[in-house]
């Protein structure tokens, strides 16, 4: 199986491009149709993400049945024209992203109405859909410059979304991200430029075939280094993470959830994509042993992310640092570069999207209902918001990696992969991080259930014991919580896809 121009399957028709076009069109429509009524924007976003989700599912099934799907923009044959390619690997990620985006959109109606000023809601949904179109584009495109364009679309709409946070510090967070994101993007585009200079092509498949001859060229090695640095900044690999905590902390709740579940995951995906399908496993393992560096960086990220999360008092910031640690899991599996470890890495893209998206949704519900973001103030919340907190507990168990949750599946593949590759010394890193995760999550669970109400909760207006978040929020959150358990027990399906994708990436 390979990304070849000959693998065009007409059965898929124009599905690959529709996945992008529909959210893109919806993004443009949002400000217009919202003039009718302010809630139309939400209906539009929900419909668009739902259709995109269905399309991505159909694409995934096509790929599972018939192999790689390719779509040529304007019927221009690659490598001249832009090509969209869906293989096992990105078909899987695409479906995950589309699914999570849909669930979060469904969840976000009330939260957006409360947190975003009314006159800005149409533009919020516009930027929101643009963001989703961007990340889906990153996943699906087969052209490396097109990829850069989508990265920028995502980033620009992201800056706008973050800046709409209620707290004035959101502006600072957005500005910080803008500067660092631009630096990252600059590295990325420079690297792409060098590759173009060296090969004269921008099609990823074409690049993969042309590059091996000139692997020893300084231009190619420089290009690779630039791209890696740019991507590591974008995916917030420790110590290039400093933009992330503020972004997750001060964004509107729904944006935190969306970004935590998708954006860094997608960047990790791009890292894998470029390491293994633009360059080859031989290049990253032997020519430039970047995997060795990446293993060390990942371990540092895993430990430091968890360590800093231990000291946080703001729940959103705690989750943000936890994300920084979890990114390390994904890059670690990729850097070990065996099929099992890579499977762990890919399955963690799904698993972490589920867990972290859900946890941010829980926090969004708490903020919606009580405005609380400090862990100390959450004491006794278990009685007030039983369902939301049940979801939080499931998320916490998942993050810790209890068997019967998705977290365990990721850890299982990463650990057995590491041992299988003779790197058993990486297992303690995973286990120590689990224990630290247990500490910082269990601290919250304990104070939520086993302490009397905090002073802050008592001062809130309605002291009835039924103060659960709105139905729409609770149902979507619990649905994801259910999936955290479902895919922890019946994981064969996604693991099978991830395994095939891993085999594909490693070229076997």
């Amino acid at each position: 199986m390979s990304f070849g121009p000959t693998t065009f399957i007409s059965a898929a028709g124009s599905t690959p491009v529709l996945v992008i076009v529909i959210p893109l069109l919806a993004a443009m429509l949002a400000p217009i149709v919202s003039r009718i009524h302010r809630s139309v924007g939400w209906y539009l976003a929900t419909t668009a993400t739902f259709i995109a989700f269905l399309l991505s599912l159909s694409l995934l099934y096509t790929v599972i049945d018939g192999g790689t799907v390719s779509y040529r923009m304007g019927s221009w044959a690659p490598p001249m024209g832009i090509e969209y390619v869906v293989s096992y690997f990105n078909g899987f990620v695409l479906a995950v992203i589309a699914f999570i985006s849909f669930i979060i959109t469904l969840y976000g109606k009330k939260s957006v109405e409360q947190e975003i000023p009314e006159q800005k809601i149409p533009f919020f949904y516009s930027a929101y859909l643009l963001f989703i179109a961007g990340i889906m584009g990153i996943v699906i495109t087969g052209d490396i410059f097109n990829l850069y364009v989508f990265v920028e679309i995502t980033a620009l709409s992201g800056y706008a979304l973050i800046a709409m946070g209620k707290d004035r510090k959101a502006l600072m967070a957005s500005y910080n991200y803008l500067i660092l994101g631009t630096i990252g993007a600059t590295f990325l585009v420079l690297g792409i430029g060098y590759l173009y200079i060296a090969t004269g092509t921008l099609n990823m498949n074409d690049l993969m075939q042309r590059l091996p001859e000139i692997y020893d060229s300084t231009t190619v090695i420089t290009a690779f280094a630039f791209i890696m640095v740019g991507l590591c900044l974008k995916l917030a690999l420790f110590p290039l993470h400093i933009w992330l905590p503020n972004v997750y902390t001060y964004s509107p709740s729904i944006v935190s959830a969306l970004m935590a579940a998708t954006s860094t995951k997608v960047m990790a995906f791009v890292l894998l994509r470029i390491m293994f399908t633009v360059f080859t496993p031989e290049f990253v393992l032997e020519v430039v042993p970047v995997t060795k560096i990446l293993i060390v960086m990942s371990c540092v990220a895993i430990i430091m992310g968890s360590l800093i999360a231990l000291g946080q008092t703001n729940i959103k910031r705690m989750l943000a640092y936890s994300s920084i640690g979890q990114i390390g899991y994904i890059t670690l599996g990729a850097a070990i570069a065996t099929e099992t470890a890579m499977t762990g890495s890919l399955i963690h893209i799904l698993n972490h999207a589920l867990m972290k998206g859900m946890l941010f949704m829980v926090v969004g519900a708490v903020v919606y209902k009580t405005g609380i973001v400090n862990i100390k103030d959450m004491e006794g919340l278990g009685k007030r918001m039983p369902w939301t907190m049940a979801a939080f507990t499931i998320g916490a168990m998942s993050m810790i990696g209890f068997p019967f949750t998705v977290g365990f599946i990721s850890k299982w593949y990463l650990a057995t992969g590491a041992i299988g590759a003779g790197m058993w010394y990486l297992v303690p890193v995973l286990l120590v991080s689990s224990i630290m995760t247990a500490f910082y999550f269990w601290r919250v669970v304990e104070s939520v259930y086993f302490k009397g109400r905090s002073a802050r909760i008592d001062t809130l207006k309605s002291p009835h014991h039924s103060d659960e978040a709105p139905f729409g929020m609770v149902v979507t959150t619990l649905f994801l919580a259910g999936l955290c358990i479902y895919f922890g027990l019946w994981a064969s399906g996604p693991v099978e896809v991830a395994k095939n994708a891993a085999a594909f990436l490693l070229g076997s």
């Binding site: 599946i409 086993f450 994981a491 064969s492």
Partner: protein, 497 residues
């Protein structure tokens, strides 16, 4: 000899009985009597299902029940063999007894959140039977962690600062070590053997270097903290903040027995006695455990709080089980298996007594127990009988264990361990007999005597809801001391080559 196996969902039903119970208990939170009825009903049905599987297992058969595959290599599967049967019978029988006792205790003490309490209890029992019937290390680990989770709210039940602290220590020890060591051992085992299924004679033979296998064994031993081995025993005394029925459950039925049971699984069905013997680490481990036996007894001597003394006694008694297993001689392994039962019935009696004393008189210290034997004769007689079992006096159950354990040391030609067992017996006597002596022959403290005459309604009276269970378990302790054949024949089934 190949075991005869039949496919059956019966082990699953035994787990579901209490799992469905959880829902029904939760739904009837407004009607305490109905809620308690569900607990009892679930416990009785569960016990019935477990008992129904005894004849076939005694005849050398196993029930198998494969549910589904999580991912290739990780299966949720159950298997009822003789070893699991020993544990399951004790756990499910004692759940019935403990339920009656709990109802009495919780109502007498006016505890809050009783619905949560009974729900968590039922979840714990589901997971406990899951541990007993697991067919592979993954399923066992899953249920093992589920027990930790479900007992956490029980330990922290009172929700005071002290209770939270105790529960936190409990969680840190059990979760921390199982994630750090046990899980690591499971990863390594899977990588070496390619499977996690329990098998007669072990799965690790010939799969790795001696060094690797030794490391796996040590990781398992360090990770299965529920067995209470030093230096990871501190969670046991810390968990004493729990209501007494919970302590009884932790110490006699679910938690610690899940721990030693897992150790036995590792010794018998992951490594296999043959492989462990050839690794040459068993005697090193045995000496290590001897240290636990003696130290725990010495610490128990210094404790004035009755439950704390019982907790350290548990640490010491659990060490007998692990010691018997790692000594690898036929009689000592037999002793290990039957002591799961013997210790369970005796220790639960002791905790029931401690809880009964607290519920009736609100006394927790041994020094305050002077003369209590006259006011609570049934309780203190039961306490005395169970103490004899702990010490190992015939005809009570503990004697049978001690006998086989001693025979085992002779078989292994190891007089040092025999001496340790004798010393420990004397220590057991030294910290248990004074309690009974004080209760029957000690003088009542003057305040107590005063308050008794002062107000008539404060009269100390034994509560039948709590007395009957503890008398029952005391009788069982004597019974299985006189007729130990049942558990011995199950144990022989486990050890059959």
């Amino acid at each position: 000899m190949e075991l005869e196996a039949i496919q059956s969902f019966r082990p699953l039903y035994a787990m579901l009985a209490s799992a469905i119970g959880v829902l029904l208990i939760g739904l009837s939170w407004e009607k305490p009597n109905l809620r308690e009825f569900w607990t009892i009903l679930a416990a009785v049905i569960k016990f019935g299902l477990v008992v129904s599987m005894i004849p076939f297992v005694l005849a050398g058969g196993v029930y198998e029940c494969s549910l589904f595959t999580v991912v290739p290599g990780l299966d949720i599967a159950f298997r009822v063999d003789a070893l699991g049967m020993v544990f399951a019978i004790i756990a499910s029988l004692l759940w019935i007894v403990t339920s009656f006792y709990s109802i009495g205790y919780m109502r007498a003490c006016n505890e809050k959140n009783q619905t949560r309490y009974f729900m968590c209890f039922a979840i714990t029992m589901t997971a406990t039977i899951g541990v007993a019937f697991s067919a592979n290390m993954f399923t066992l680990f899953l249920c093992y962690e589920a027990i930790t989770l479900a007992t956490f709210p029980l330990v922290g039940h009172k929700m005071t600062a002290v209770a939270r602290r105790g529960a936190r220590i409990y969680m840190v020890y059990l979760l921390g070590t199982s994630l750090a060591f046990q899980l690591f051992a499971i990863f390594l085992t899977y990588n070496a053997a390619g499977t996690l299924d329990f098998a007669q004679g072990g799965i690790l033979t010939g799969t790795g270097s001696t060094a690797l296998l030794t490391i796996i064994f040590i990781l398992f031993m360090a990770g299965i903290t529920k067995a209470g081995m030093m230096p990871f025993h501190n969670w046991l005394p810390a968990a004493m903040v729990a209501p007494t029925p919970v302590s009884a459950l932790l110490h006699a039925v679910a938690v610690v027995k899940a721990g030693v049971f897992t150790v036995l699984r590792v010794v018998f069905h992951i490594f296999g006695p043959g492989l462990l013997d050839s690794l040459g680490i068993s005697f090193f481990a045995a000496y290590f455990i001897c240290f636990t036996i003696v130290m725990a007894s010495v610490i128990a001597l210094t404790k004035d709080n009755l439950k704390a003394r019982l907790a350290y006694s548990t640490v010491s008694q659990l060490a007998y089980i692990v010691l018997g297993a790692v000594m690898l001689s036929p009689s000592s392994m037999l002793a290990a298996i039957i002591h799961i039962a013997n210790h369970a019935f005796s220790k639960i009696t002791l905790f029931f007594c401690a809880g009964h004393i607290y519920a009736v008189t609100h006394k927790t210290k041994i020094s305050e127990l002077g003369g209590i034997g006259k006011k609570m004769p049934w309780t203190m007689v039961a306490f005395f009988i169970a103490s004899l079992s702990m010490i190992g006096v015939p005809p009570v159950a503990g004697f049978v264990t001690k006998w086989y354990l001693a025979v085992g040391t002779v078989e292994a030609e190891n007089p040092i361990i025999l001496i340790v067992i004798l010393v420990s017996t004397m220590l057991n006597a030294a910290y248990f007999l004074p309690i009974s002596y004080k209760a029957f022959f000690g003088k009542e403290s003057p305040e107590d005597a005063g308050s008794q005459q002062g107000s008539g309604h404060h009269k100390v009276r034994e509560l039948p809801m709590m007395t009957i269970p503890l008398v029952f378990t005391a009788i069982v302790s004597v019974f299985i001391g006189i007729y130990p054949d049942f558990f011995i024949s199950l144990a022989q089934e486990v050890l059959r080559p």
